[in-house]
Amino acid sequence: MSTLLPLVIVVPLMGAALSLLAIRSRAAQRVISVTCAAATAAMSLAILIGVDRNGTEVAAIGDWPPEIAINLVADRFAALMLTISSTMLLAVLLYALGQRTDDERSRWYHPAYMVLMGGVSGAFLAGDLFNLFVWFEVLLIASYVLLTLEGNDGQIRAGTTYVVLNVIESFILVTGVALIFAATGTLNMAVLPERLAELPDGIRLGLNLLLLIAFGLKAAVFPLFSWLPDSYPAAPSPVSAVFAGLLTKVGVYAIIRTQTLLFPDTNRELLLIIAGLTMVIGVLGAIAQSDMKRILSFHIISQIGYMIMGVALGGVAAISATIFYMLHHIPVKTSLFLVEGIVERETGSSTLGRVSGLARRSGPMAALFLIPAFSLAGLPPFSGFLGKTAVVTEGLEQRSWWIVGAALAVSLMTLVSMLKIWVGAFWGAPDPMPADGGHAGILRKHPLMSAVTTSVVTLTLLIAVFAGPLYRFCERAAMDVTDVDAYPSAVLP
């Protein structure tokens, strides 16, 4: 089983190399990308099933003893994130093929996309802090390329902010890594908990804060979020769907690892305040916007707040709620951006004033938007309701009243701004009336894009339907994560 761990990283990177070789043939590039992405998704699922059955899998690269080696570690949490992310990456790749616009036609799209996939897999599996940094860099550099693929004015402007801020984030992360190495003499995430626990409190706090700033910037928490709503909308829709669904969640994943494994139970008050502010500021930003992509981008920030809230509350119940929340949030957010992509492809704009009456033109597409929108706001019976209920219940349990109040208010405001998109873009009469009277189904015109979007929306519904078994799985994953001895004892024999 553990041989699969390196393969989910190597296969996409091989795909990137092959599609660089096949740079002259777009058809070959497409075949290579889809094959590698599908293989990665299948292997991730196999890892998930294997890990759930047999416990944490470890691959010690180079066959060194695990305390020296750079390990790849898949516990239930990592395997779950790996599976959902590679599935989403595969779905969005197919969507991009169906979009048939210039960004996918760029020769560099497929290599960069495959590198991104390898980087995301690596970041989830890394069992070594420096290795984690390297995979972060791999996925970031791929994301720089994808964000600025067209090289037009808007993309360069947005890309500059994005790249510069992320480079600074990397420097902060490396500083943290270097100081941790200086203080403990190791970067192995299985050995670190024990060594870090021996350090004086002040030094631990400093190291913890350095990592939190670096990962917090990646996850776009308050006050480090300003780059996100500016840069994501500049990317082409399938690219921003991937960024929105996955990249910030890699940051959240790293925060969860830091706060449960390396620095358990430190800075929880601070994280709780950050969580509340992230939720509120994010949703207020969303309400003020009038462009679909920008509204959705601000919602990413506000949703990150709920995940951080779970981390801040701590304990098995709160962490399992957070894991479930991430599981639901990734497909929901991705599908919203995918629907937005169809709207933009059809009408040429995502600004609310210029798009209207889409529900009249295509009922099914309106449904495809409404389901994840309600799910994002947390309305029953959708998956978001279950995720929010789990997080809020734990907040009540721990008597953190103000954060519960904030979470509920933000959920209401999320609904308000989703309805703003609904009223602006979907309600009313089509304007201008399309030549065919607007009766030609929009979805039928873009079969592959619609099929992918429908499957992702169906996946979010399935998460709600099978919430029971999934939640129990999240609880098992949270038990692995919160038990400070579980990770080291699984890695070190």
Binding site: N152, T160, F171, F181
Partner: protein, 129 residues
């Protein structure tokens, strides 16, 4: 870490931070280069003190090779990112004729809004007069 090393890291990081605060991309890139060097030296300093031999053979004292391996990786990554940024700066220059980092959309809208309000206020003043 010796005090010379610490001073050098501090100066590089300080100058780098100062340059990053500018609005022209070229200066930002130079600043990032300096910051990167500061961080790389910090990694190197996180190993043993200076004056120990590098790893040769298996016997005797040698300096910890791990920070050296880490710093090599970090240098390569920094090199790649800086070249990408330079390409972006060149692109910005071919599009706009300068490489100033512009305000984001919301900032520009707010600025326009302010300007319009100011103009309206001026008109009212004139009407009153």
């Amino acid at each position: 870490m010796s005090w010379e090393q610490a001073l050098l890291i501090g100066v590089l990081a300080g100058v780098g931070t100062y340059l990053v605060m500018h609005r022209t991309l070229t200066r930002i890139i130079l600043g990032l280069g300096l910051l990167g060097n500061a961080v790389n030296l910090l990694i190197l300093a996180s190993g043993d003190g200076p004056g120990v031999t590098p790893i040769i053979g298996r016997d005797g004292d040698f300096t910890d090779p791990v920070p050296q391996a880490l710093v090599l990786t970090a240098i390569v990554i920094g090199f790649g990112v800086i070249s990408f940024l330079l390409a972006m700066a060149y692109r910005a220059w071919t599009i706009d004729g300068n490489d100033e980092v512009e305000d984001d959309i919301t900032d520009r809208r707010l600025a326009r809004h302010e300007a319009r309000n100011a103009a309206l206020a001026d008109d009212e003043q004139e009407d009153l007069a």
